[in-house]
């Protein structure tokens, strides 16, 4: 009986691991980014040891990125309700030339977001480009609007993504940010704890 149960348990463990296979791994990659307080942070080093729920945004986006951000908020609220901690939320801008730390601070502030475990990040363009390339997010400037005063803003065609990263910095699952099923990611978070 014991001989039979050991392979069964091993199979069960293997099966559980396979449920969320490793999509990609940050390995030793580290990126110098800037938080809304103008402080430099090393990503993903500063969140190592925590499960990370991450999305990729630009603040001139009025529709899809606020949808994704609001879904992050709903996930955060659900985790609080279920008393699940050790989860860090990260929103990275892929339009750092517009999304300064101050712009990101206002973007979060006007939405009354709980920033106790949620960090918005920007940085220099080459660094944010490296991060999104690493995680498989595409962001290409497309249409634009020119204001009466000559100011021009771009709208990106971009990957609509929320990502689950494990405490070792490995990407475990990608979700569509604007339409994510909150219950699905909560279940996935529980399975990685």
């Amino acid at each position: 009986m014991k001989r039979l149960s050991i392979p069964f348990i091993l199979l069960l463990i293997y099966g559980c691991r396979e449920k969320l296979p490793v999509v990609d791994d940050f390995k030793n990659s580290n990126y110098k980014l800037i938080n809304p307080n103008n402080q430099e942070v090393i990503f993903p080093d500063f969140v190592k040891g925590k499960l990370v729920v991450m999305n990729y945004i630009f603040t001139n986006c009025p529709d899809i990125c606020p949808l994704s951000t609001n879904n992050m908020r709903l996930i955060q609220e659900q985790l609080k309700k279920e008393k699940i901690d050790n989860v860090q939320f990260v929103s990275l801008s892929f339009d750092p030339e517009f999304d300064s730390p101050e712009v990101l601070r206002k973007f979060a502030g006007i939405r009354n977001l709980d920033l106790s475990n949620w960090t918005f990040l920007t940085g220099d363009k080459s660094t944010t480009d490296s991060v999104i390339k690493k995680v498989g997010v595409l962001a290409v400037p497309n249409d634009s609007t020119i204001f009466k005063n000559g100011r021009k803003i771009y709208y990106y065609i971009h990957t609509d993504r929320i990502q689950l990263i494990d405490p070792e910095g490995r990407i475990r699952k990608n979700y569509k940010g604007s339409t994510i099923n909150v219950n699905e990611i909560i279940a996935d978070i529980k399975s990685l704890q």
Binding site: P62, F147, I157, H158, D160
Partner: protein, 156 residues
């Protein structure tokens, strides 16, 4: 004397008609705007306005644009799916609202883009926007700032 009085009355009537025609309509029995809500945005940032247009008439009308003092620019936009998991946004141009139908402006689809809002739009605030229709002219709507759809039927 009587003639002068008649001319005066006619002029006043004409003037009233012209002024009334130029005023935005807040309610129209054939074309209704419902459930209007708008996303929060810090001063200078962009926001999106959503609502449902109910066309109860037997004629098609066309949304040709929108205007508001709340933003530097106001445009009709559409979010679109580029491929499997990429999304984009583009100006939508004029939109025909078919007779006896509803047309929904909703997250991930059509929306009124408010570019460069002139003040902070905080949750619970209310803003005014005028929608421009080809046949019905101007319809003024009020929208509440919210981070999720307002589902109860709020008639304008």
């Amino acid at each position: 004397m009587k003639r002068r009085l008649l001319i005066m009355v006619a002029l006043i009537f004409m003037l009233n008609t012209i002024i009334f025609a130029q005023q935005p309509k807040t309610q129209n029995s054939k074309l209704k705007i419902q459930n209007a809500w708008v996303r929060p945005a810090a001063k200078g940032a962009n926001s999106a306005l959503y609502f449902v247009i109910e066309n109860n008439s037997i004629k098609t009308d066309t949304l040709i644009g929108a205007e508001s003092k709340i933003a530097e620019e106001v445009e009709v936009h559409e979010s679109f799916k580029k491929d499997n998991d990429r999304m984009g946004m583009r100006p939508a141009g004029k939109l025909a609202i078919n007779p006896k139908s509803e047309f929904e402006f909703k997250p991930g689809g059509f929306h009124i883009m408010l570019l460069g809002v002139t003040k902070d739009l905080k949750i619970g605030d209310k803003i005014e926007v005028v929608l421009l229709f080809k046949n019905k002219g101007k319809i003024k709507i009020k929208a509440e700032v919210s981070d999720m759809p307002i589902t109860k039927k709020m008639k304008q």
